[in-house]
Symmetry: C2
Subunit: 323 residues, 2 copies
DNA sequence: TTGTACGCGTTATCAG
DNA sequence: CTGATAACGCGTACAA
């Protein structure tokens, strides 16, 4: 609660001198330096971040805009971002948009007035025109928004193809797809891959659209399984739905993986909690967050940098839910 | 990026007047008011929060200090807090301490200099002496830190007793306890209840200490089950370990709930994802967060308030993992 | 090597 | 009803 002025007084110097020792800038005699340090100690002085921000027009804070921390995909991502930002002196502010564009815009607006230094966004609705006016660096996750906005993504299309190939390699012949919601970019990519794959391989196309939630995965699988009894594999749009599929199978007395193979997508921790453990196309979630944070850091230090676009690889993790 | 000064100039008035219309304070003629509004609109003026904070010594921001967002207990809690704070104009900053006292203290220190208006903490290490110096309201979650610090908790001891009673009602005779880490308050309370319960009912005391993690739950259950083959129920210190127990049972070919009942504690979402679904002593996680946020809000508006201590009830949720 | 004085963007007080 | 102006706490030219 002490101010720089009080420290100055206490040490018998001017505020400028205190500021100098605080920031190791300019010359300051070793003796006065010591007495200042002593005063700081005695008064338990702590520099005021707000005043500093006002002057610097920077708050050492970044924003992390995600749909919903309650979605098991995000906790790890958030951790990764914080793990790299905090040691560098940055505080990260989390924001749940619920995919609501109005919330997103509100937040973006607030950022500017808080001198927030940068943002990492994962959003299906934000476009270039919304981000354009920001003077701070932006990193887009999960989805490439615009060439002018740096991004870190994975190839949902290619990865889905690989997952599907694995399924046929293991002898699956009738693969259904539990698609995610159609307003979600990644979900569409996975669906597109499924469609292309089945067409190219002359497989039957069986699609059921869900909502990326557990219940949805379960219910839709029940429908699928009762409607088409010959299905021998399910490729789910995400792990949570895949786990719902596992539950449905258990409920119907269908043996996984003997009678039915289930493939997830994402690699969330839940997948290891269930029995059988979920085979999945695993995104390097922590790596994605880490990479994004690192990119942001780089652009914070060097604002002129051209927008980088990195694409990480998802990796098939074979566990127990597939043949 | 426009400042109040520019708006004033643009509207041909003084900054004082602009400030008045901005904050609806004091008298201002309707005509000048309109022209100011127009200027604001034209310049897309947005008040600068940092400058405002500096003057007001308040940032409309609260801190939320938790061990680890990656622990499935916390996402819901965080959501609850944000859901109540945001509509009231507060931003919440999340902080993961990893139960590291040094991190916690660092963070607390940073708070003061950022004019953060209040904190919600869930910590096993923080004591009165650490919080004493804060001038902002503090709410403790999960654990009662001191009478002088408001808190919202549940009765871990009583609830554990109830869970245990349920198990014996269902005919379980040899109940083992998968205890949580001993440095965690809630974990000790649950353990204490187990000890008292077994003693009072003349039951054998079988305790295995774990770390609240999935692997730990599984490994420790394996040991337990191979070492004491007569166990017919496991009372786990938390849901995650309980799910680990489920996995262990599956691996050993032990039927849950026929041969073994498994009882969790917490009520995290994972519990509904597994098969069989987990019977658990369910904490009202969202409610806890909501209540804490509401209490904080109340104390923010009325700083003089005496510290309130509310205790919420955990509720037995019977699903499929118990007889 | 050190101190003075101004500016960062707001709000509030006090004249007018 | 409106306008100067002094804070808020800090960092940095510019002088000394």
């Amino acid at each position: 609660m002490a101010t720089i002025k009080q420290v100055a007084q206490h040490a018998g110097v001017s505020v400028a001198t205190v500021s100098r020792v605080l920031n190791d800038k300019g010359y300051v005699h070793e003796d006065t330096r010591k007495s200042v340090l002593k005063a700081i100690e005695e008064l338990q002085y702590n520099p005021n971040s707000v005043a500093r921000s006002l002057f610097k027009k920077s708050s050492n804070t970044i924003g992390l805009l995600i749909p919903d921390i309650t979605n098991p995909f995000f906790p790890q991502l958030v951790r990764a971002v914080e793990d790299v930002m905090y040691p560098k002196g940055y505080t990260t502010i989390l924001f749940n948009s619920d995919e609501n564009i109005q919330h997103e815009l509100d937040y973006l607006k607030g950022m500017t007035s808080k001198y927030i230094d940068g943002v990492i966004v994962v959003s299906n609705t934000l476009k270039w025109e919304h981000l354009e006016r920001l003077t701070t660096p932006v990193i887009a996750l999960d989805r490439h928004i615009d060439d002018r906005i740096a991004s870190v993504t994975i190839d949902n299309y290619e990865s889905s193809l690989k997952a599907l190939e694995f399924l046929v390699e293991r002898g699956c012949k009738r693969i259904a797809h539990l698609a995610g919601p159609s307003h979600v970019f990644t979900s569409n990519e996975r669906l597109r891959a499924y469609k292309d794959f089945t067409r190219k391989n002359g497989l039957e196309e069986i699609i059921q659209e869900g909502s990326y939630e557990l219940q949805s995965g379960m219910l839709n699988t029940m429908q699928l399984l009762t409607k088409y009894q010959h299905i021998d594999a399910i490729f789910a749009g995400n792990d949570v739905m895949a786990i719902g599929a596992l539950k449905a199978a258990a409920k119907l007395g269908i043996d996984v993986p003997k009678e039915l193979s289930v493939m997830g997508f994402d690699g969330v921790e839940w997948g290891t909690a269930v029995t059988p453990e979920l085979t999945t196309m695993q995104q390097p979630i922590y790596q994605i967050g880490k990479k994004a944070a690192e990119m942001l850091l780089k652009r914070l230090e060097n604002p002129g940098l051209a927008p980088e676009h990195v694409r990480l690889n998802a990796e098939l993790t074979v566990r127990q839910s597939t043949k």
